[in-house]
Structures are given as C-alpha cells and as structure tokens.
Symmetry: D3
C-alpha cells in the first residue's frame, strides 16, 4: 500500500489509533480497550480502573432498553475532554481500561445474572487493585455485582451508598430478582447488612408504604431528597459516607439514574418530577469518589432509546467522570 494517500485520509471514528492518542485526548481516545486477539497477556499492573458493560434489561419490571446504555455511553465519550476544569484535574493521569460487556443470554435471565456475578468475581480475583465501574443495564445487576465482589472478598464488610428515587426493596418472591429488588436481595442473602445501606434521593409517590416499613424495621438508612436539600445534598452525602465508613470495609456506590428529575433525565423511563438536578448529582458522586472506602461504582436504568438526543447519556458519562475526578484526587493525595 506504499504510496496510498494516508495524509488525506483518516480512519473511521471507531477505529482510532489507541496507541497514539493526542496530547489532549478526548475520553474515547484515553480509555484503553483490551486487545482482543492478543496472544500474550496484557499487563494489568498499571490500570487504575476498569469499565464493564452490563447490557441486561430483560429483568426490568417495565419495558426498558437500558441494555443499550453501555454502547451509548461509549459513543458519547467523544464529547468529553479528560480535563475537569471545576477541580483542575486531568483524568489522563489515571489509566482506565474498557473490558467490554458481560455476555448475556437472550432467554435465560438467571444465566445472565450468573455471568455478571462471575465476571466481577474473576475481575476481583485476578486484579483486585483495579476499581470496577459498571455501566448497566437495569438495577437488578447491582445485586449480582456485589455478590461477585463478596465472593472474591468474603471477609470484607460491604456497604452501599445508593442514589435513587426508589428503595429497591421489593420482595423477590413476587417476580424474582428484578430491578425492584437488588437491595433486599443483598440483605436477605446476607451479602450485606441493612444498616450498611444509605439511600439518598427518595421522594414523592414512587415507593409503596410497606417498603418504607421494611426499611425502618431492618434499619436501612435513607434521606429523602427534600431533607437532603435542607442540609445540602453534598453535606448529606459526606455524612452518609462517614457513617458508613465507620461500619464497613468497602462502600459500593450505586447510581440509579432515575434519581434525576425528569427534566434532567428524559432518557430514564422511571425518572420523575421532583428529582435531583444534574449538578447536585455530579457533586454527590465527586464526593463519593474522594472517599477512601468507596471501591466500586455502578450506574443503571438509563434507556437511550427514550433519550432526547443524547442528553441523558452525556449526563451519565459526566457522572462517571465526576466520580473518577474524586477518585483521581484521592489517589494523588496518597
């Protein structure tokens, strides 16, 4: 092909040269992809975080295409630089790898769930120093991811900071491990203790009274968005982290994008009026990123088919990057 006019051409946008990212990369040029056909082992020693797509939404109570979210978020990386001006942090100093997606089965949801749990187990077993960042998928995956985490670290006490409009404490007896059940699933399977959960963002008419009763009786912590705002959302998150931090070894951050107000999250089927604003959410996850015991994160329940343009998908990417900003600051402080 000598002589072919390379200088005039550039490759298709999805086939960029990852080994030659520019000095100031876009997020899509910065995040590495595993070499699929590599005959030799990739050296993982330098990675700080690993992104895992979990494209499962068959387990959602209402129809959802949240399965399309991992790829939608990947496509939206190109809209972001790695540099966070608000905190003067350049994420480029982190090494982040995109592992691809956990394989899913079309008609066997239990198999999908087993794959998700196993993927987290193996990742934690082989590369425990790497922070997992899961892009869902619906909220049922959180139960599987945390179970996989516990499989790998059976002696760690794990707590949850949950940003959510819903308790997710529905009874599994009704319809199995759907997206309404992950926190209850984890409590009843004794993966975590109810008192090691703190949910911030609940509001309005979107939870049955019995779920609040269950939370109260088992000791699940929660702060409604209305009460969080009285104190300040950031302050509420900080205090929740500190309280959990005194109890547990590891805090898992789970962000249900339905915590957003429906004007800020048009792509979230279950988003509701009266929810959180984007900037409140960015502050909340940034604080979580800074907190030493936060060691994993997921983000769920965004259906890109319902989005207005890519507005909510971009917000989701910003959430992930805001969390990584805090994480980057945390690491650098060490």
């Amino acid at each position: 092909m000598s002589g072919y006019p390379y200088p005039l051409l550039k490759p298709p946008s999805f086939a960029w040269d990852r080994s030659a990212a520019p000095a100031e990369p876009k997020v899509n040029e910065w995040i590495q992809t595993l070499e699929v056909n590599s005959s030799v082992s990739t050296d993982w020693s330098g990675y700080d975080a690993a992104i895992l797509g979990v494209p499962l939404s068959r387990s959602s109570i209402s129809a959802s295409a949240a399965s399309e979210n991992p790829d939608a978020m990947r496509r939206a990386w190109k809209y972001f630089t790695t540099y966070n001006l608000d905190h003067d942090v350049d994420l480029r100093d982190l090494r982040v790898v995109d592992l691809g997606d956990v394989r899913q089965h079309v008609t066997d949801i239990a198999q999908c769930h087993r794959n998700i749990r196993e993927a987290m187990l193996q990742m934690r077993t082989h590369h425990p120093q790497v922070l997992p960042l899961a892009m869902g998928g619906d909220h049922s995956i959180t139960a599987m991811l945390i179970k996989g985490y516990k499989d790998a670290h059976p002696t760690e006490r794990v707590g949850i900071l949950q940003l959510d409009t819903h308790f997710d404490l529905r009874d599994l007896a009704d319809n199995g491990p759907s997206n309404g059940t992950p926190i209850r699933n984890l409590i009843e399977s004794e993966t975590i203790r109810a008192t090691d959960v703190h949910n911030i963002g609940l509001h309005g008419f979107f939870n049955a009274r019995s779920l609040k009763t269950y939370a109260d009786e088992t000791g699940v912590n929660y702060t409604t968005l209305r009460n969080a705002r009285k104190k300040g959302v950031a302050q509420t998150v900080q205090e929740a982290l500190e309280q959990l931090g005194q109890q547990v070894d590891t805090i898992y951050l789970t962000v249900d994008m339905d915590v957003l107000d429906s004007s800020y999250g048009p792509g979230v089927p279950a988003s509701t009026p009266g929810g959180m604003q984007s900037d409140e959410l960015f502050e909340a996850v940034h604080i979580a990123g800074l907190f030493p015991k936060v060691k994993a994160m997921d983000l769920v329940c965004l259906d890109p088919f319902k989005d207005r343009g890519e507005a909510t998908v971009k917000t989701a990417v910003h959430v992930m990057l805001s969390f990584l900003t805090g994480y980057s600051q945390r690491i650098q402080e060490k």
Copy 2:
C-alpha cells in the same frame, strides 16, 4: 365459564377490579369510579374528594389540545403509589371518586360553559362536603367553576390563590370568555372581589402592561416569581393564604400549569423560560392543601399532545396528589 383459565389471565389494564384493590394500590386502583348503570343510589357519605374532568379547550386563544388532559392524567395515575414518602402520608386513607367528564358541545362554547357551571352547582348542592378537584381544559373553565360554586353557596365570600405566569385579566369584550379572561370575568361579574385574588408566579414578558395597571387599580394581589423566590416560594404562598384567609370564607386554588418553566413543562403550550420548577410547585400546592379554607382546586392548560412522553402529565398528577397530601394531613388533624 367454569374451567376457564382465570389464574393465567388478567384483565386489560383499564378493566381492573376496583372492588379488590391490592393492599398497596397504585393511584388508578385507589380512585373510585362511579357505577354508571347502577340502579340504586351510590352512597356518597364517605367521599372526601371528587375529581371532575373538564375537557374544554376550544375556548383557548391559541390552539390547544388541553381537552385531552383529563384522560391523559387518568392514564398516568398508574405510575404513582398512594404513599407520599416526603410527608409519610398515605392518600389511601382518603376516599376519592372520579366523576368522569362534564359533557361538552362541539360547536357551542357557551353551552359548554353552562354545563361546567351547572355541574359544579349540582355537585355542591348535593354533596357539599366533598372537595372538588377539576382537571382542565383551558383556564376559561375556572370562571365557570367558581360561578357554579357561588350559585351553590351565594353567601360565601370566595377568594382565589392563582399560580400562573399570566394575570388572566384580559377584557371579555374582545373575544368572549376565553382562557385569557377568567379572573376578570369573575371580578366584573362580581362573583369575587379583585382584592380576594392573589397570583403567584408572574414573570417576564408575558403580560401586557395594561393588565398590570388593571390589577393595580382594582387591587388584585400578585407576587412575581422573582420576588417570591427572594422570600421563598413556600413562605410567599403561606402568607398569601393567611392574608386571603382573613378576608374570605373559601379559597379556590387554581393552578395554571404554564407557571412552570418550559424545561419542566414541555407539555404546556404557553410555558415560558424563567418559570417555576416542579418541586417549587409541589411545595406550593402542598401548603395550600394544608390550609383550612382551601376548598376546591383546579389545574389547567396542559396539552398532552405537546408533552415529551408523559413528563408534564405526570407532573400534573403529582401536583394533584401533593395538594391531596396536604388536604389529608389537614383532615387528619381535625
């Protein structure tokens, strides 16, 4: 039909068994519907509130399908539980009935208006203990509903708490009793006194200067949204209610959904930039629901054909339920 596999089937969503609502109903399972062909009288003694659809928007100055809103709101009830977590109130303790829609004529708007007035009169005459909740329709209906109210209670002095971007004080001589005129209609017909109106939410470039002059000269009270926010919207509403409460026997709450900012109310044709946020509106109507003299409510000017998904319709349902939350707390305190 013995032997037919009922256990495997469930009825279509609109034909649920209202006599067997689950322990934790959705709003659509909780609100009762009148038995249309009942040969015996329904016992009204236990109802706390009655919902009335008023599907009229031919009287709107600009083209509007607000006539479709009552059914749109009914279809959206299924997204809400009866339990308000913010206030720990379960609306299930209220008994609410949906009376259906006031009959409308296709080409005779005056007849439509007479029907609306008469419906309110008859309801107040026969069941004066039941709180009316009207789902419009355009804002012209408010004049008719309040006139019907006065027909039933001629000696009551009635005031209005209006949440609106507009004064609605246009001259009836121009184009008859359109949606730009209801407050002036009520003042000029001496149904209410100008000084018994308080409008909160006005802002920007959406009212002619002469309407402000009219308001000032007649004594209509108003607080712009900008000024309300300086004091706090909730506090402003509380003070307006207390002032009105000293003057009148009954306060009628009318919510023009165009008070919302256009990012929060995409389904409101006249929504404008710079308007109210959803959570401010929920607080405002909740406070009104708590206030003893507030005895009727309507909600107008939402065009579901313009909505983004059902976002604004859900917000409207949340407004109605937030008002009922306050009302429920008020009743229980008694």
Copy 3:
C-alpha cells in the same frame, strides 16, 4: 345518588357502559370484556372470536417494548368504526370478547412461555368454536400458541401462513426460544411440518444465507415480496392458502409487523426499507380471513414506544379488523 347530575356528565373513556353500546359503536364499544368478578359462568356460546393479549417481549433478541402493544392496540380501538366500507361488512354482526392478557413473569421467561401455551390449550379445550386472535408481544409467542393449540387438538395437522421479513428459523441452541426461532422451534419439536409453512414477504439483506438453506432443505415454502408483487400479493396469498389447505386441517396466520416497509411501520423496531405497504397487508389478511381453514391469528413485534404517534398501532388494529372482515364474510356465507 338520586339527584346527581348524570345528564351533564359522562364517565371516563375507559369506563364506558358496555351493556349499552350505541347503535353504531366504535370498536372499543363493540368488543366485550369478560366480567372479572362475575360469580356465575359467562355464557360463551355466542362468541365468534376471542382476543388475547400476550405482553411478552423479554424474549426478543433486540430490546423491544412489544409487551406494551396489547394495551396500545386496545387504546386505539376507539379510532375505528365496526363498519368496513370497502367490503360493506359490519363487524358488529360478530361477537368478539377481549379476554385480557396472559400473565407474565418478570424474570422467568420459560414460565411466561408455559403460561402462553397453557392459556391457548385451555381456551381451545373449553371453547373450541371461538377463533383466537393474539396480540403480541414478540414472535417467540407464536411457537407457544401453536403448541398450545396442538395440545388441545393433537390429531389436527396445522400449517402456517407467515407474513414476515424474516424466516424466523434461527437455531434454538444459540439463545433459546427467542423471537428469531418460532418456526424452527415448531418444526424441530414436530409440532408442524416444514412443508406446511408458507412465508410471504421476505426481502433484502435481513436473513442469513444459512436460514434460506435450512428452509430449502426442510421444505419450508416462501415467496419473496419481490416475487409476490410480480404475481400480485393478493394472488400469492390466495395460492399459498390453497396449497396449504390441501395439506393441513388448520392454517394459523401469523403476521410479523416487521413485514411492513419502515415508512409504513415506524413503530416496528425491525421494520426495513423495501417492505410491504399497508394496503397490501390489509388485502393479504382479508384473503386469509376468508379462507375456511384459517382458524387462528396472531400479530407480533410492534413496539409502541417507537411509534410515530399511534400510526403503526392503528395499522395493526386495521390488520386485525381486516382479517375479521374476511372471517365475518366467511361465516355469513355458511
């Protein structure tokens, strides 16, 4: 409730008085609903056809909200009269009942499939004279419905007239009984013979070559849309019916709405350019309705969340009514 102003009010649109349909009903006023709480058996002797909602789309290969289609079609009934002007047939002379939806499980797709099969079995067992009309859901349901049919009529030889862009002959070993597999599922389970299937509407680049090979080797009949148009779609359908009619006792009509061109079926996720026009499809199903051995029908793979307004949902209702027009003419001829 004597004295209440009924003349001024009408019930909400979903609560019409089914016992008092007007002389010229809309389709929603004509189709009967089972009395859910009836303590006595309903007399089925007079029904001609029964509609069954099958709201399952978790089994779809690509994300789909076809589960929402049964209710979407029901809501669109109100746009149609019962009178087909093209054929001077009034469907009102048929008695049609809406049985509601087959119960689905959120996370156990196999259980969903068992319920669907069992529902058809019981219906055929108890009311074999009633024509079943199933509203999907995704195409996986067809395998279950036909298996249920065969369970009830084990000695009948059943054939299939399929209107579809795809063969639906994928291997079940890959991902279980998804929407890509129903015809192969039925062949491999020996529910039907490959040679008793005729697929009309295939075109373009939407089937793997191996599926054509499978069809050719097993003897599945098919006519591409391009070839069907050369002869005339109506004539092609007529000949396919006659050929099948010589082989089998019963022909099951399955309409995958993705047979439509994407300009005619914006609400079908898998609709493609180069597909069928609406009027061609109406002609095709009308001819099938006329054909004596056609004894069941389903319609699948329409996702109302993707529709433009309700355009495709209305087309689906028109398909069902066009089929019933032929069926009505067939019955009357007897």
Copy 4:
C-alpha cells in the same frame, strides 16, 4: 440612510421586496400580498386566483390545530419554484394574490362561520373572475364557503368533487356544524343536491354504516379508494368530473388532507392507514384544475403541530400548486 451598507445586507425573509421578484421566483416571491394600508384601490383586474386563509379549527370534533395551517403553508412556499417540470408549466404566468385570513372569534364559532360565508360572498360579488383557493382550517368551513358562493351566484347549480376518507355526512343535530357535517349541511340546507357530490378516497373502518346508507338514499356519489385504484385514480377523477359537469354549472373541489395514507400525511390528525399516496393526490387535483367547470378549491384538516418537520405542509402546498398547474393549462388553452 444614504451610505448604509445595503449591498452587504438583505432584509429578513418575511420582508422581501415583492415589487422586485427575481426572474425565477420562489412561490413566496411570486404570490402577491394586498397592500394593507394602501390609500388607493388595488387593481384586481389582472388577478387569476386569490388565496384565502381560514384559520378555524375550534369546530373540529377532535382537538386540532388546523387553524395554524394557513400560516404554515405560507411559510413553506419558499421551498417551491413556480415551475412544474412534470407539465412544463410555469405558474408565474398566473397572477395570484394572498388576501390574508378571514377574521375569527375565540369563543363564538357561529360568528366565525358567518365571517367565512360573508368573505366568500363579498369576494365573489366584487371579483367574480378570480378563482378562490381556501386554506383551512377544518372541514366545517367548506359548508360556509359554498354557502357564500351560492349567496353570490344564487342561480348557479354547484356540485362538489370531494377527496376524502370520510363522507362528512354526520347529522348536524348532534353537535352543530362541525367538521363531520359539511356535505350534509349543504344538502339539508338545499345549497347543493346530494346527487351533485362525488367523493373519492373513502376506505376502511372510518365511516359509520348509517352514513353510507344516507349517501345511498340521497344519491351522493362515491368511489372507494380501492375501487378507484382498480380503474386508476386519475381515470376515476376524470369520469367523476365529466359526470358532474353534465349536471352542474360549477364544481367546487374540496380536498380533505386526511385522504392521505398516514405515512404520507403524518401531519393530518385523522389520516389513516390504507389511504392515498401523494402522487395519486397530485394527479387527481391536476386533472381537476384542467376541468373547465372547476371554479373554486379548498384544502382542509392539516394540523401542522402534528407534522413531521414540514412534510405534510409541503405536500399541501404541492397539492395547491398542482391544481394551479392544471388551471394554468386550462386558461392558456382558451
């Protein structure tokens, strides 16, 4: 303003210089507007056709913003040249004036109807040589326009060529002169004879059986779209014109845009599957434009708020221009 850089500027698009249209104008540059404040009389002697906006849709049975169509069509003129390549006709050789809109009242529909009738009367009285082209509005306006025409020409026998999915023969006793009634209105008021109407385009389940009975009993002529296509739509229209031409002095062409298939007319609220294609409609109106006795035209029931982009509005403009193409050829032949 001497010295101001005109060469660098051009006026806003709505303020073009009508006296200096380019050699090859766009339709918006070709159609003249009346000088509103002209102190002297405009010379009408040279005009061939006059466009009248009739922005009324309060009289529509279902909610419609067809009132916005006249301005929407005007805004879309800029997309069209005056030259019809299919027939090698340049409309520029016609002189066409846009008279603006008939004044409407917000809450008095009867007054709106009187204004429309009076506007046609006065136009026919003062400028009988000018062809009227009305842009609706809903179909109720056709009754008023034809009554106004008859007021001006009481001895002319007027017939109607109607391109429509519906009969528009509903009983006025039900809901007054709505958009479901214009043809019956004209028959019962003895403005026209039933046998002088020919409706082409009816299809499917969109008319009650009683309306067909009424048509049959009174002698209204009609050809379903299905039957028209068997003979050819163009041929059907030609024959209908010739038949009417033998009976009447004047044929009024009324195009209800709901005659279009919903894939071709997304902006028509009542468009249905199975309707006409755009090119069939263009042929039909072109033939009508050629026919000597066709002396007026209207186009109704397009709601630009429901359009996809401006696709249907552009189609409506193309309908008007196709009719004018035939009219231009007719005039030139003289």
Copy 5:
C-alpha cells in the same frame, strides 16, 4: 378595491401593518424593519438599537444549523409582549430596528467573515449612537464583529464579557477562524487584550487543559459556574463588569447559548449537563444591560433544527429582551 371586505380579513401574520402597531404591541409589532425600497433616506436619528442577523454556521466545528437562528428568533418575537413585569419596564419606549441579515456566501467562508466585519464597521461609522445586537450564527462571528467595531473605533479599548461553557481559545492554525477560536483570534490579532476578557460559565469536561493554561498565561479572566454560584451569578457578573469597566472603554457582551444546561437549552448542539439555568442567564444579561460601558451584544450557537418546539429559541429571545430591559433602564436613568 373599494368595497372589498377588509373588516372581515386580516393580513397574513408576516405582513402586519408596522405603521399601526397596537397600543400594546407584541415584540414583532414593535421592532421596526427597514423599508427596503425606500427611495428616500430613512431617518436613523431616533433609533436606540439595531438588530443584525448573522446567519453563518458553516464555520462551526461540528455540524450546526445556527444559520437558521436569526429567522427563528424573529418568528418567536410574537410570543412576547414588550412589557417586562419583573422590572416594570416597557421596551416600547426604546426604538429598535431590524436591519436584516448580513449576506453570506455558500462556499467562501472568508468572504462571509469579511462581510460581517464590514457590516459592523459601516454601521458603527454611520450610526455610532445605535446599540448593535447580533443574532448568530456560530461563535466565529464574534471575532469579526469586534474587529469591525475596532475598525470603526480604533482608539477605543474594548473588553469582553463572555457567558460560555468554553474558552473559545483554540489555535487558529489548526482549522482557521472556526467557532472554537474567536477570543484567541481577537487576542492574537491584538484587537483586544487577554486581560480585558472575563468568561463566566465554564464547567466540567468541555475544555482541554491547554486552553486553561493559555488563559492563565495570557491573563484571560474566568470564573467557573461552580465558583460563580458560590458567590451568586449576579454578583459575579456585576464584579466582572466593574473590573472590566476600570480597564476598558467599551464592553462587548457575547452570550454563547451553550452556557445553558442541556435541560434548559435542548436546541444548543453543544449544551452540556451542569450548565446555567435560564433565570440565571436572564439575571446576568440584565445586569450587563444596566452597565454603562456595555455597548454591543451578540448571542450565538443556537441551532433551531435541534430545538424542542421553540423552547430554546424563546429563551434566546428572552435573553435579548432581558438585556434590553437593563439597557432601557440605563438610558432612562440618564
């Protein structure tokens, strides 16, 4: 034309009688248009402000139809009265003229830029007392407009108040004077000094780190939105104006609409999560309008093809009117 029924007709909406605006005009009835064919000079002595459309977006890095914004804003004027209730100011007391659009070339962007610069030069030369208000177009135009301003007033020191999510400090060597470069363009051409720029609204991951370095090294002032909110956006703007006011003779206000949060600015291709709210922006520009040295304004990067309805276009008009409110108050104080 004597005798023609004018009382029944009104002209098309774009052809209103500008010499006879009503006592309470809408904004479209208030803003004057130049008489295009006037044979005599227009008297400019009374104008306070002049609107200039700059329909160029070929120079945008990403595909944009911001070229359509000037006409979109003009069409949206009709939604606004001239009366600002928040400040009790009626803009009618200002005389504002719409000059139309700067001519653009289809394929020669440099020519477009020259025309823009020249238009501002000529306007400032001939009518220096008239405030220019430019409606873009993309942000590349700001460099040209300010260069034209400097051409006319070479001895004035000009500073910039920029409300923007981006620095717009990209290197021109990369892709010429695109919309990513205007501020750098002005600095490097020594039209302005870096230290005379203050940018408010930057946030998140939308600027490369090198641009911050460039700003820091050259002395460009900036306040992130996050920091602005800590002090109050209004207070931040006030202080920035006062600081600039001590340095320069003239402050040019440039509003990049991408400063808005994407929920408030759906029509801005580059709007991002975490941006400004509409009411914050209205306050900011109102304060700028009040400030004596602010003598020109532009508003850029709004693509009406991406808007939700006209929501963002209306917000843009509100921005312009809010600025004029301050300007009106400033003038009256004199």
Copy 6:
C-alpha cells in the same frame, strides 16, 4: 492477562475482531478496515471495492449535517446481513475495504474540495481495479470525485447516471461549487459532456425553468419520475445505461438521496412529496450495479440528524448493498 474471564466477556461493539468474522457475518463484520498503523504495505490485490467517507456539507446551500452520514451509515451496517435473498447473492464473496474519511478543513471549503479530488486521483492511480463507493456529504463532492477520476484516467470518456430530484445545474458564478452545481461544474470544466449525463427522478416544483432550458440547450438527458414510471423505472434505467454505454467508457452513478419521496426519506432535508419509493430505488441501483461500464458510485445529501430513528440511513445502506449485489453478479458472470 492469563486467567482473565474472556469467555464471559465480549469486546465493545466497535472493537470486533475483524480477522475472525463469523461464518455468516453482518455487514459491519464483513467490510474490512485498513490497518492504520501497519508498518508494512497492505496487499490490495484482492479488493473489489473501496468505501470512502466524504464528510463535507459546509458547501450545502441549505444547512445540512450530511457530513455525519458516513459514520451514520457505518453504524447501521450491523443491521444487515451480507446475503441478498431477492437475488440469492452473498456479498461476502466480494472483498470490500473501508478506507475511512477524506480529511476536511473547518473553514476552507476549497481545501476540502481539493482533498476529495486528490483522494480519488491517488486511489485510482494506485489501485485502479478497485471500485470506489463514496458516502457523502453533499452533492458538491460529486464534481470533485469525478474530476479526480478524470485526473487519473484522462483519456476515458466518463458519463453520469444521476438519480435526483434536481438538475444540479446551477450557475457556479452565484455561490461557488455548492451542492446545486456539480453537473454544471463538470460540464463547464469539460470534464464530461452534457450529452453524457442522464438524470432520472426529476419531478414537481423543485427546479427553476432556466435549468431545464440549460439542460435542453446543452443536451443533458433526463427522464422525469412521472415519465419513468409510465415505462417502468427499471426499464428506464436500463435504457439510459445502454444509451450512455454506447457513448462513454465509464459510467459514474450518483444517487442523491433527495430523489426519495419525503415519506421514504425523512432524513433527507430536501426530500419532497411525489418522489421515488425505496424499492424503486433499490431496483434502479441494482440494475446499475449489473451494468459493465458502471465503475464508481456515490450517495449524497442524507442528513442523519433529521432522520426518523435510522430509517433513511438504513435505506442508504440498502442502496449501497443493492448496487453491490448487481456488481457482484456482474463480476461473477465474468
């Protein structure tokens, strides 16, 4: 990385393993991408066709994001198998490479045009046996591509088969080499002869009369869509090819997607009512693919930002694949 759970994971969709495409690939798995960083020459000897993205639409008369089309088409490849059932052709037997995009400049359109011309020249120089398939971009690129072709093959006489609603014969003197000028550009630069062009698909009011005059005077061949349908579109295309084939050495096929009816091409800004149907277009390009002298193809003027979902983009891919089907059959016949 030994031990990492590959079996559970799959790479992101854009990072598939191209060296291991499945036995039955999707189009995205079949088309090869150049190895960007390959240090050795790629062996081109086996390629049959090469795809070139030409992401330029700054040169479009009206605002267009056709620059986004190449990537949009690439993203849509995954919806297609390589097997064309209509013709029993598997494209997998062709070797096709995606060369990526021609580099574009943001503000220098002439440079963009030079790059496009040069890219075609170099490709034809080094790999003359490979069929070029260009994905535009707007129609201005066709002039550049054909000039580049002629630069490489100066002695070949090149003709054009154009499928288009427009002549594209505008005068370059007006606005440079925009998308309205390519054919005239080629004629006036004597790259091709006017009589070697045949345009099929013209219709309606979308061309100025002077352009027809120009075509007639210079001898450009054209067949309106209306006339083509009388003979059959396929037959018309065949005859045009045969006529051109007698005159020229090479026929270049250019498909302006605006030839589609606006119901079939919602993503084409300039699509019009009365245009071609998708299946007519597929037939036309298939026939062109079969014709021996057709040696290059482009497809232009599709703006994916305006598309309804990806409907038009899928149609464009189908056009390209239909052309390749014919080409594959042509090659195999040799």
